[in-house]
Structures are given as C-alpha cells and as structure tokens.
C-alpha cells in the first residue's frame, strides 16, 4: 500500500478543521423558530447518520457504506453556504421575530419556484463543496462530489432513502423541541414529511413517532 505523503496529511488536516466548523454552526430552521440551544449542523448529520445506519440495516438492497458516507457529505457544503433552508437564507433578527409566520408558508410554492430554488441551492452547495474539498486527493474528492450529486438528484436508492430520512430526523428534532416549548408549530414539518416519504421503512417509522408522541390523537 502506498504511503501517504506529507501533502496528503496537511490537506486532510485542513479539510477536517474546515469541516469542523459545522460543530458550531446552528441549524437555520431552529434559529428561525426561536429555539434556544438548538442542535448544530454537525448534530443533525450525526442523527441522520445514526438513523441511516439503524433503519438502513433493515433494507438489504442498500449499500451501507455508500449510505453512511452520503449522509456525512449531504450538508458539508454548509461550511461555506451556511444552512440553506429553502427558500430562506441568512437569519436576521427580523426573521427570528417572524420565524413562526415564515414557517407557516414554507414549503408551499408553485412548482416552477421550487425548481428554481432547487437549482440555485444545488449550484451554490456544489460550488461550496468543491471549494471545501479542493485540496483533497482526487479519488476522495470525486467520491464526495459524486455522493453529493447523487443525493441532490435522488438518482439512486441510497439517495432516495436518505432524503426521506433527512426529513424524519428534522421532524423528530422538532417534536422534541415542541415538547419543551408548545408554542412552536411543527405542522409544516408533518406536511413536508407526508409529501416526501414513500419508503416503507420511513412510513413505518412515522407510525412509531405518532404512537410515541401523539398518543391521544
């Protein structure tokens, strides 16, 4: 096996330090909703990766290594783009004041608007990921970019599954915040979940969430 050169280590170290910024970056969605001490982007990636591992094991047709790596890559671009919650951008104090109202509108848009936002975000995130990975060795960089592309375009079973799990971990997080602060509305997260999920594992997991957190409904 070929030994790593000094340059490889330097570039990997730089990459890990940069990606580590995600440990301090809050999730826009919770900031807008005024949730205090909410999870950071890395926390979201951790929850999604765990969920992908635990639930993904139930579907033997999925490639676990690919799934977990894809989960790690899916929001890495946020190092440069910050957390893009379509259709909103940076969080201003005014946004926080209006946060709850903002989420009453989201994610309801005309299809053309959704497609436009998707393209804009995808382009921006891809550019950011290219920047973040630019000094990594070519095969590793290629792998990260390809996994990201596959995730965004939902062009394989792992991407489709992960994309649905992504909304489930957000919903679960929202449910837990709502338990602490009942004034938070997470109705839009349910709507989002019902639009996104069709995988049997995800649908069964939704039933489990209902059983656990909505016993009286």
């Amino acid at each position: 096996m070929k030994k790593k050169t000094k340059t490889d280590f330097k570039n990997i170290l730089d990459f890990i330090i940069k990606a580590g910024k995600l440990k301090k970056m809050p999730r826009t969605i919770w900031s807008l909703m005024g949730v205090k001490d909410s999870e950071k982007i890395s926390g979201h990636i951790f929850s999604l990766t765990l969920m992908a591992w635990a639930l993904g094991k139930e579907d033997k047709s999925l490639n676990m290594e690919k799934l977990l790596k894809m989960s790690l890559c899916h929001e890495m671009a946020a190092v440069y783009t910050e957390d893009l919650i379509t259709p909103y951008r940076k969080v201003s104090p005014k946004d926080i004041q209006e946060g709850k109202k903002i989420f009453e509108k989201w994610p309801r848009l005309f299809q053309k608007e959704k497609q436009k936002k998707f393209k804009q975000d995808y382009k921006k995130e891809r550019k950011a990921l290219k920047k973040l990975t630019k000094n990594l060795n070519q095969p590793l960089r290629e792998e990260m970019l390809n996994l990201f592309d596959e995730y965004k375009t939902l062009s394989g079973p792992e991407a489709r599954f992960l994309n649905q799990l992504n909304v489930l971990v957000v919903l679960l997080e929202g449910i837990q915040y709502k338990k602490e602060d009942p004034s938070i509305s997470i109705d839009f997260l349910w709507e989002w979940t019902y639009e996104k999920c069709d995988n049997w594992l995800c649908l069964d997991f939704i039933e489990e969430l209902k059983k656990r957190f909505y016993k009286n409904k």
Partner: protein
C-alpha cells in the same frame, strides 16, 4: 428486496433509467477488460454511475435492480380528455391550503419523485390521498395534525 412491483415512469424518466443502465453496462465491460477507471469528473455523467466504478458487486446489484425496473415498467400516459380533471399519475396539481396559500407539485412514480423540485411520489401519504380526486375537491389529512388541501387545478403536460 426485488419484487414484481410495477414502476410508473414518464417517458423522460424511462429514458433516464435506460441511460443509467447502459452506463452501468459500459462500466462493467470496461472493468472486465481491466481498463483503468476514468477519474476526471464530468458534469454530464450520471453521478451514480461514477460511484460504482470501484465496486463490481455493487454495480451488478444495481444493474439487476434497473433490469427489474425495466421489466416491470408502466409508462405514465395522459388520461382521456374527460378524465383530465382528476388527479392521476403525471398530473400537476395546484392546491390551496390554509390561509389561501398555494402549493403545487406533479404526482409521479417513486423513482422520479424529488419533492425539492416539486415532484412527489404517488406512494407518499399526500400522493395517495390526492390520487383520484377531482378539481374542487377538498382533501383532509388528520393525523396527527390537520392538513387540508383544496384542489384548484389539475394539469397534464403533453410532452
């Protein structure tokens, strides 16, 4: 698990699956011939195809999945004129929600769904509840939160 499930695809979606399959086949042959993988990234190439370059087992499994899709595909067709006010596969549905908010998406088969781009799966809870509904109908989902949709417009694209 691969079963005898039907896969509903638009003409464009079917072409994409066929293209994916051909790309995987080419990759497999070049691997068998022992050709060095091309590591230059191209925006035109299917990202999934690229990620399979190193793993033959994974590649063959994915090819089998796509073969199964191609074997059990059902092309989404535009319904007869008198049924075009009903939500079916391939329909773009404009919905009015609480507070007069407009939501719009196309109902497609699971393989073509991408909610971020306004394409939802006919097997999703929203897709299921909308299928078969007419313009003017109100559809309500009650569990665990109440979501009401009024169907304002149903449109089928001829292309």
């Amino acid at each position: 698990m691969i079963g005898e499930k039907k896969f509903y695809l638009t003409k464009k979606g079917l072409e994409k699956i066929k293209k994916q399959y051909e790309e995987l086949k080419k990759t497999k042959f070049s691997k068998i011939r022992g050709e060095a993988p091309n590591i230059l990234h191209s925006e035109d190439l299917n990202p999934e195809y690229l990620s399979f370059r190193e793993d033959m087992g994974l590649l063959e499994r994915r090819m089998a999945e796509l073969e199964n899709v191609l074997k059990n595909v059902e092309l989404i067709k535009i319904p007869p004129k008198k049924e075009r006010n009903i939500v079916g596969l391939g329909a773009t549905v404009t919905l009015e929600e609480r507070g007069g908010q407009i939501n719009e998406f196309t109902v497609v088969g699971t393989l073509e769904a991408n909610p971020g781009q306004g394409k939802i799966s006919s097997e999703s809870p929203v897709g299921k509840v909308l299928l078969g509904q007419k313009i003017g109908s109100e559809v309500i989902m009650n569990s665990p939160v109440r979501i009401a949709y009024k169907i304002k417009k149903v449109k089928y694209h001829l292309s």
